[in-house]
């Protein structure tokens, strides 16, 4: 298991704890806009970029679906594959919202991931810097923002 790489240092400790306690294989923490905040289990920036874009889109669709069906957005989603399972959820820290997507296998379980994710959420709430800018909307420069966050996680592309 490798340590998480983060674009914002304050999320490193809670992300590492979540990874270890919930026995996650890989995971990405991002803003709803698609900008990556931290990741573990990936060595390729392109994979994280795809996951961020997909998670952001899935969240937007699921949120609207939840509103249509239940009058409020869904908080978490779970997909059980044959070997691996995907857990996706929203985490709020103050007014700031984050999305998390994690992958686990038979070494863990949905119940265990849910328990440690709720602890992770509490840790984010506690550690969120006071001067953290609230970014609830995607910026006009989605691609540039995504690339900058990936540079922070993996280093500038082509300079390795």
């Amino acid at each position: 298991m490798t340590n998480p790489t983060v674009a914002e240092a304050w999320v490193a400790a809670p992300l590492k704890r979540l990874m270890e306690d919930a026995r996650l294989i890989s995971g990405v923490l991002l803003y709803p806009s698609g900008r990556a905040v931290g990741q573990f289990g990936f060595s390729n920036a392109a994979d994280v970029m795809s996951i961020c874009a997909l998670t952001s889109a899935i969240n937007a669709s699921a949120r609207e679906l939840g509103r249509q069906l239940d009058g409020k957005p869904f908080y978490e989603m779970h997909h059980a594959g044959a070997e691996r399972q995907v857990f996706m959820a929203r985490a709020a820290a103050g007014a700031q919202e984050f999305l998390f997507v994690g992958v686990f296998d038979r070494e863990s379980s949905l119940g265990v991931v849910e328990i440690y994710f709720s602890e992770f959420q509490k840790a984010l709430e506690k550690l969120l810097p006071e001067n953290q800018a609230v970014q609830v909307r995607p910026s006009d420069d989605f691609e540039g923002e995504l690339n900058r966050s990936l540079d922070a996680l993996f280093g500038p592309i082509g300079k390795k």
Binding site: R106, S109, G111, I115
Partner: protein
């Protein structure tokens, strides 16, 4: 096969059982749970984390038992400072009880084993 609600109801009536739950063996999610004896409104509900972690622990115990060539574990009891957690596997579910320290553990064990046998 007895309904899960019947299993939970009968286990929760055993003296000393603080809470009884039927939990998914693979996902650790509660299928049916009794009320917690002596639960004060507003206090932290410990059933969900207990269920998830007990099911997880049981799956590891299963592997340890298998590695030692002992076969499937029949009964698991975790003794703690303020009580016990008992777990029995029954096909795709696990029965979990939170038990007071002064409970009749023999009775708890027997009733859990019988309930598991009925659900296999």
């Amino acid at each position: 096969m007895r309904a899960v609600s019947q299993v939970v109801a009968s286990l929760s009536r055993v003296p000393g059982v603080v809470a009884a739950m039927v939990v998914g063996a693979s996902d650790g999610l509660i299928i049916e749970a009794s009320q917690i004896v002596g639960y004060a409104p507003g206090a932290t509900d410990t059933r969900r984390p207990t269920a998830a972690l007990a099911a997880y622990l049981y799956s590891k115990v299963n592997r340890a038992s298998d590695a030692a060539r002992l076969g499937t574990p029949a009964f698991m009891r975790l003794e703690a400072e303020k009580g016990h957690i008992c777990v029995v596997g029954a096909s795709d579910v696990v029965l979990v009880t939170i038990v007071a320290p002064d409970a009749n553990l023999g009775r708890v064990r027997l009733d859990m084993m019988n309930a598991a046998k009925d659900n296999r």
